[in-house]
Amino acid sequence: MRRLGLLMVLVAFVSCKSGEHSMNYSFVDYETAKPHQLLSTSYCDIPVYTFDEFEKLLKVHPQKTYVVNFWATWCKPCVKEIPYFEKLQSTYSSQEVEVVLVSLDFPSKVDSQLLPFLEEHHLRSQVILLDDPHQNRWIPKIDKDWSGAIPATLIFNANRRSFYEKSFTFMSLEAELQDFLN
């Protein structure tokens, strides 16, 4: 919707941390991977990536733990657990934890479903739209055992990487994260 040329201007005005220079080593970093499109809500930008672009962001950082959740507005169990990921983000951001919500919404439904959802819920976590129909190519690159069902979550840091094809409660999610922080 907006051209890449506008990126720098946009970044200066948005409140969320999309693409900000990596003083805090944000998962999304426009220098590492430029989104091919940028969606806007009133409070945040949503970078749109193909898998090849997105894959560049899946790099480990010595201090950080990334919690990457694959979801969509049409997926009821996914929507149900989003508050748990939001709570995890706010509870653990001081411990170098970053939650990333990777939307798999249909690009044709972005305006009618994804953006209204984000306006309504004002998510604090970084949201990305992964727009890549060639799923058979990229799903196994996230995890060889992933069937493709969502919700699904990837947690990784310099020491560990685990993939979960399941729903979480806040307690079970926090328990998994604790294993990465200890």
Binding site: K76, P107, H134, N136, S147, G148, E165
Partner: protein, 201 residues
């Protein structure tokens, strides 16, 4: 030493008596798929063995409520029209529990099948026993079976094609390629594919 042996025996005994966990595994390529008897939207009970002239089956776990299943609905109807006459009919099975997904109730299935004029059976996995046996993880999830003397052999597991968003942009038609190869006795080039879908509830 004897004590160790006893422990060993006890442990192996445990393993011997615990049943294999089919839920976690499901079918692999080459496995014999089990038959079933499930209720169709027209009220009849349907089994694979009812189809005496079939050369195989395209069993698709699908449903009303999943946008991915909806995106593929017209393509599923087209597949049945194209291959039923060649002896490979579509058998659609809704694996979801309507308690969690009210849009997947038997009545809603009947309505959907009528509205879209399904040319194939649309069955309900009422006890939710068939989908774990097959290893279906999401909707839509296809299992291509070939009828042989030893049973219905699993030949392909996965997605219908490589573009859920746009049927016009499809580059590889996984299911069609697999059916064509199966019917002509050729090796199936791509036997397993992954795709995003709705988890089964």
């Amino acid at each position: 030493m004897i004590r160790m042996l006893l422990v060993l025996m006890a442990v192996s005994g445990l393993f011997a008596f615990s049943p294999p966990d089919h839920r976690a595994e499901g079918y692999s390529i080459g496995d014999i798929a089990a038959d079933f008897s499930l209720k169709n939207v027209d009220g009849d009970m349907i089994s694979l063995s009812d189809y005496s002239a079939a050369k195989g089956f395209l069993v698709i776990f699908t449903c009303n409520s999943c946008p991915y299943a909806n995106a593929y609905e017209d393509r599923i109807i087209a597949l049945d029209k194209k291959y039923k006459s060649s002896g490979v009919p579509v058998i659609a099975i809704n694996p979801n529990n309507p308690k969690y997904r009210p849009e997947d109730s038997f009545e809603s299935m009947q309505k959907r099948a009528q509205e879209k004029a399904y040319t194939f059976p649309y069955l309900m996995d009422v006890k939710q026993e068939v989908f774990p046996l097959y290893g279906a993880k999401r909707t839509p999830h296809c299992f291509l079976l070939e009828k042989t003397d030893s049973g219905n052999v699993v030949r392909y597991i996965g997605a219908i094609d490589d573009n859920y968003q746009d049927a016009m942009e499809v580059e590889v038609r996984y299911v069609e390629d697999a059916i064509e190869a199966m019917l002509s006795g050729r090796e199936i080039q791509i036997e397993i594919t992954k795709a995003i879908g709705c988890s089964i509830k």
